[in-house]
């Protein structure tokens, strides 16, 4: 019985959480047969990519070389082979191109949720993926190679067998891992999330090499002078790779009417034209070879990215402040409601039971699940309910931090009120104050004062924990800025070091500020004895502001 009630409560909360933002359109099924019509009606083709997989797709800070603005990230531009192909397709269809930067793992979700119309992200049409989406014909085909150090043990390797015993890694969730497992079992630790990380690891001798596709390898070696790559022909002296893996194709919804149109357009793009596009993409890649030594690199990154860093600080601090304040308001409300004296009427008692139950469910659920998971559930739940329209990621971030913090502060408030002496209530009632006056003049100020250290603590935690919200693509907080810097400079260590110093400065100074505030709220440590003569002579001019000074 209890379990059923709990399930109902969870459902109610989940529904109201997503329902709150729905715009009335709650059709769950998307008809992909109308895709082409939708795109031409809209006049816009929405394409999703990582914007972080050079030379297929990468970012730049200006629109030079025909880069396209990233629609969900202000001030960022995408370019690369994928962007060039996407532009060509959009042009041929007679619509404008919009590029959405999304995490690799969320591309297929976003496509099926209708956030984007197609994936052009250096994605191969694997059997696994074909279960959930369709693919166009190939728009590129490449070889798998291994990137190594120019001065390393494997610089003269010529075939896959030469790498027996070498510490080679591959990108998690790609067929590179499957290919690599042809020579040996690949552990979790040998799978990296980004190429930037693999490059950093290779340069600091953590690994001997990593698997890449040839265009990517060319780009990486161009940006990192100490690297080279070993050319391995698929199925000859290299990896046994299926066509479904080495080819790249456009990802589309199942049965999408766009597929045939795009195939027709790709057919007009011959081998030579593709080669030219790829060469351009490699040449235009804006990655600077930053090799100025540790301090030089740090100085270079700060000089180049300080506005971005400030932007990230702004987002982090703003979301943390507003989220903590909103959480405090939610927490105070919930805490107060949960400490109301027992209702007197029967109906009142039942009503009180219901909302107390719902509020405890809220507190328990949000305290009992990771914020990152809550972010995913709310963000993608909203997109699903609203036919693929996603929440503004900043708003989503704020919402999640507020609700999450509210659940924590509600408990703090409850403890804060319960720890107040009952005499504080009685003293107020005894001079005729109403329940509301008692709450606002006596109980609330003391509760706030009592919970302030705990709230400060929540604030500092929020500063750090908002970093998990970078799973929401386009939520550019301080942590996400770190990732942007790495994509542009390949300086993983320096970038994270700078970011961590900024985090520390933030939390340290904020902690000090809040301590000051606490001390101020405590009132003066000493009081000065009052000279009564002044009062009796000039009562009207005596220091005013009796209650709120």
């Amino acid at each position: 019985m209890k379990r059923v009630l709990l399930l109902i409560a969870v459902a109610v909360i989940a529904l109201s959480a997503t329902g709150m933002f729905s715009t009335g359109n709650t059709a769950f099924a998307l008809s992909s047969e109308d895709d082409f019509q939708t795109v031409t009606d809209r006049g816009v083709l929405r394409v999703g990519m990582e914007a972080g997989y050079a030379p297929y797709n990468y970012r730049q800070t200006t629109d030079t070389n025909g880069a396209v603005a990233i629609s969900n990230q202000n001030g960022e531009f995408a370019n690369g082979y994928d962007v060039k192909v996407a532009k060509y397709i959009a042009e041929q269809m007679g619509v404008t191109l919009e590029v959405y930067a999304l995490e690799w793992d969320s591309l297929i979700n976003a496509l099926n949720a209708g956030t984007i119309d197609s994936i052009i992200a250096g994605m191969s049409p694997t059997e696994e993926r074909k279960k959930s989406i369709d693919f166009s014909d190939k728009y590129y085909e490449s070889n798998l190679v291994i990137v190594v150090r120019k001065d390393g043990k494997y610089k003269d390797a010529t075939q896959l067998d030469d790498f027996q015993g070498a510490n080679i890694v591959a990108q998690r969730g790609t067929f590179h891992v499957d290919a690599l497992s042809q020579i040996r079992t690949v552990t979790d630790a040998e799978q990296y999330d980004t190429f930037a990380l693999m490059i950093t690891a290779l340069k600091s001798n953590v690994i001997d090499g990593y698997v890449a596709e040839e265009p990517g390898a060319i780009a990486d070696c161009a940006a990192n002078s100490e690297l080279t790559y070993i050319q391995l022909k698929n199925n000859e002296n290299g990896f046994t790779a299926s066509e479904g893996d080495t080819q790249l194709a456009v990802g589309l919804r199942k049965n999408s009417s766009l597929t045939s149109r795009i195939n027709a357009i790709l057919a007009t793009l011959d081998e030579d034209a593709r080669a030219v596009m790829m060469q351009e993409a490699i040449d235009q890649q804006p990655v600077e070879s930053v090799e100025l030594g540790f301090f030089g690199n740090v100085a270079y990154i700060i000089g180049k990215y300080w506005t971005k860093i400030l932007e990230g600080v702004g987002t982090t601090v703003l979301v943390s402040i507003i989220g903590t304040l909103a959480g405090m308001v939610i927490g105070l409300l919930v805490g107060f409601v949960r400490t109301l004296p027992e209702a007197r009427t029967k109906a009142g008692k039942i009503w009180q039971k219901i909302y107390n139950f719902l509020l405890s469910a809220y507190v328990e659920i949000f305290r009992g699940t990771p914020m990152m998971v809550q972010a995913m559930v709310i963000y993608w739940g909203y997109a699903l309910v609203n036919n693929g329209v996603t929440m503004n990621t900043f708003v989503a971030g704020l919402l999640i931090v507020s609700i999450n913090t509210g659940a924590y502060i509600a408990e703090i408030v409850r403890g804060g009120i319960n720890s107040l002496d009952k005499g504080q209530f009685e003293g107020a009632f005894a001079i005729g104050m109403t329940h509301r006056q008692t709450m606002s003049c006596v109980i609330l100020p003391q509760t706030i004062r009592n919970i302030l250290p705990a709230v400060s603590n929540e604030f500092v935690i929020n500063i750090k924990d908002t970093s998990v919200l970078s799973v929401l693509a386009g939520f550019i907080d301080l942590f996400a800025v770190g990732n942007i810097i790495i994509l542009g400079t390949y300086r993983t260590f320096e970038a994270y070091l700078i970011i961590s110093v900024v985090y520390f400065i933030l939390t340290f100074s904020i902690t000090r500020l809040l301590r000051l505030l606490e001390r101020k709220l405590n009132g003066k440590a000493n009081y000065s004895l009052y000279n009564s003569d002044i009062v009796s002579e000039t009562p009207a001019t005596a220091k005013g502001g009796i209650i709120n000074d």
């Binding site: 002496d421 005499g423 504080q424 009685e426 003293g427 107020a428 009632f429 005894a430 001079i431 005729g432 104050m433 109403t434 006056q437 003049c441 006596v442 100020p445 003391q446 004062r449 009132g523 003066k524 000493n526 009081y527 000065s528 004895l529 009052y530 009564s532 009062v535 009796s536 009562p539 009207a540 005596a542 005013g544 502001g545 009796i546 209650i547």
Partner: protein, 244 residues
């Protein structure tokens, strides 16, 4: 008896099956200073708290100038402002200075403006000898000082009656005197007071009437002279023999 301020008829109070008050009858006239004495657990505090509805009576009635205070239409907040209360543990608002403690009720309940409230507060803080300490917070005051501020806070509401529940019991012996002096002063100035106390000297010398409570009822009442020198009840005699 029409000029009685408070009339208590057959007041009872139970906590579950626990009968604490078993039919209290009493009238309080203008200017009376009534001391309520009795053994611990006899129900003195409970009776006092019923008088200003901090506890809800189980049965009987309490009339204020002839109006039943438990009537639905009766304005409890206004009534509490007119029947002040001073607690054993002071119950000053910890987030406010002495002066703010005395002003907040005047402003919120009596709707006085800040300047009026401050003037009244200064008058009564002066009366209890606490003018110097108006900017101090409760945590910065001694017990005796706190209780004097609490008395000033009650006086600021210009109440018709003040109920005192063992106002000196939580005080160190050397501070009892300063509070009793203030209360004696108030009694002499004609304020109506009901004082639950273990200070027999105060009961004997200052009050106009002494009420002896035993086991949830008023066992005996009368002038201090009669109660202290010639009580008619055996249990009164026993109680006094123990405390004097």
């Amino acid at each position: 008896m029409t000029d009685a301020i408070l009339t208590v008829n057959n007041l009872t109070k139970n906590y579950g099956d626990n009968h604490i008050l078993k039919g209290i009858c009493m009238t309080v006239g203008k200017g009376e200073v009534i001391s309520v004495i009795g053994a611990s657990g006899s129900g003195k505090s409970t009776m006092l708290r019923c008088l200003n509805l901090l506890e809800k009576p189980t049965g009987g009635e309490i009339l204020y100038h002839g109006n039943n205070i438990q009537d639905k239409k009766f304005d409890v907040h206004r009534y509490r402002a007119e029947v002040g209360m001073v607690f054993q543990n002071f119950n000053l608002f910890d987030n406010m200075t002495a002066l703010q403690n005395c002003c907040v009720g005047q402003i919120k309940v009596l709707k006085r403006n800040k300047h009026q409230a401050r003037e009244v507060a200064m008058k009564y803080l002066d009366k209890v000898g606490m003018t110097q300490y108006i900017n101090a917070r409760p945590s910065q005051l001694s017990g005796g000082q706190k209780q004097r501020v609490a008395i000033a806070r009650a006086l600021c509401m210009n109440p018709e009656v003040i109920l005192f529940d063992e106002p000196t019991s939580a005080l160190d012996p050397e501070m009892v005197g300063e509070v009793l002096a203030v209360m004696t002063d108030l009694a002499r100035s004609g304020l109506t007071m009901i004082v639950v106390t273990h200070e027999m000297a105060f009961a004997r010398d200052v009050s106009t009437r002494v009420v002896f409570m035993d086991n949830g009822v008023i066992a005996e009442e009368g002038s201090p002279d009669v109660i202290f020198t010639n009580p008619s009840e055996q249990r009164t005699r026993q109680f006094l023999a123990r405390v004097l």
